[in-house]
């Protein structure tokens, strides 16, 4: 059988935070023309990746009913409102992003 295809075998070896380490090998099957089975570490071969989990580095704090907006914080509530974040490790890019309602 002269199949003529090179296959890629790939797997995930480890996960650290939002980072995956992937292993990949190319495999060439034997064929009737005398080509022997062969394999090698993959280098820049096409592969599909699907990763499922939580959204990285995001928290959302709603301040009211998302449909009726009952309970959203008014400027009077916000005059002395604060957030306290406790750092545990160095190096994260932190951003606070307000979802505000601007009146007309």
């Amino acid at each position: 059988m002269a199949y003529g295809k090179v296959f890629t075998l790939a797997s995930c070896n480890s996960i650290t935070g939002n980072t995956v380490t992937l292993a990949a090998m190319t495999v060439t099957p034997a064929d009737a023309a005398g080509t022997a089975w062969a394999n090698a570490a993959a280098s820049l071969v096409a592969a599909d990746l699907q990763v499922s989990g939580d959204i990285h580095g995001l928290l959302y704090f709603p301040f009211g009913d998302p449909d009726t907006l009952d309970g959203v914080l008014q400027p009077a509530d916000l005059k002395s409102a604060e957030i306290k974040l406790t750092d545990g490790g160095a190096g994260a890019a932190v951003a606070l992003i307000a979802e505000e309602i601007f009146g007309y």
Partner: protein
């Protein structure tokens, strides 16, 4: 709800500069529920591995009357916020293949949903409304090596109400980054006042660092008022993250890799529960 229209304001307009602030004036009238922004680049001859296309966008802004910033958010943050808002990732076609185009979409939503007649962007309330994209291809990789020069292209779609069915909006929802910093390790407490000019619907807290477990760099969050005599939220990052992700319908990111053995990818997904990596044949024919 009226039948919404989608107006194409820009159609894959290639930018000649690889680093610039793109300023696009919106029409002078119209009631807009949301703006979709699509960015597209062409990978260069060297496959750009382990790069995030959203890094190109330093900031996405919506500026009214020249100085009134109603939206101001970084590209990677907007990607994640859209995922939370829509409960799925915005549409994309992500690939590391050399000499191939890839794209990512974002949404600025000014109402609670598309077609909201209470909240939205009424362009007639302003003298000028401008969409700003502060971008740099060099954030993605080496221009000319990983990404082809002058291939940053932008598409802008307006989800708007028909001209004869414009609602009288009470207001609009904005999204403003108001404080940034880099964590220093700890435990150290940082306290920041919340913006108080407008009604606050919600607050996004972003803390991004590759290869670090969630809940490490920021461990605890407390939100309240009057020196925390009143407390609205108080707890651990990892617990709030579970609550934050419980309603996500599609927790998966998909992309095509240019894969080498023993290589890493840092992704906008954390607390990873499933990884599927499947080799294609050597031609990568269906990607």
């Amino acid at each position: 709800m009226p039948r919404m229209e989608i107006v194409q304001l820009m159609n894959r307009e290639a930018q000649t500069s690889d680093t610039a602030v793109l300023r696009k004036d919106l029409p002078i009238s119209g009631c807009v529920s949301a703006i979709d922004i699509g960015i597209r680049i062409t990978n260069a001859a060297t496959a750009p591995t382990d790069k995030e296309i959203s890094d190109i966008l330093n900031h996405v802004g919506l500026v009214c009357n020249g100085t009134d910033y109603r939206v101001w958010v970084k590209g990677p943050d907007l990607l994640r916020i859209n995922w939370k808002q829509l409960k799925r990732p915005m549409n994309n076609a992500l690939t590391e293949k050399a000499s191939t185009a890839q794209e990512q979409w974002y949404r600025l939503q000014f109402g609670r949903y598309i077609g909201d007649t209470q909240l939205g962007l009424d362009l007639s309330k302003f003298n000028n409304v401008q969409l700003q994209l502060d971008y740099a291809l060099s954030n993605f990789g080496t221009v000319g090596t990983h990404v082809t020069t002058a291939t940053f292209t932008v598409t802008v779609l307006l989800h708007q109400f028909p001209i004869n069915q414009r609602p009288a909006f009470r207001g609009m929802i904005g999204l403003r980054e108001f404080w940034t910093y880099t964590t220093v390790g700890g435990p150290v407490d940082k306290v920041q006042s919340l913006p108080s000019q407008n009604t606050l619907k919600g607050l996004f807290v972003m803390a991004r660092e590759d290869t670090i477990a969630e809940g490490t760099d920021i461990t605890d969050i407390k939100i309240g008022k009057d020196l925390f005599a009143t407390v609205w939220y108080d707890g651990k990052w990892y617990n709030f993250q579970q609550a934050c992700n419980e309603d996500i319908l599609d927790p998966s990111l998909r992309m095509t890799l240019a894969l080498s053995d023993a290589s890493t990818r840092s992704l906008p997904v954390a607390n990873i529960r499933k990884v599927i990596v499947a080799g294609m044949d050597s031609t990568g024919a269906y990607s």
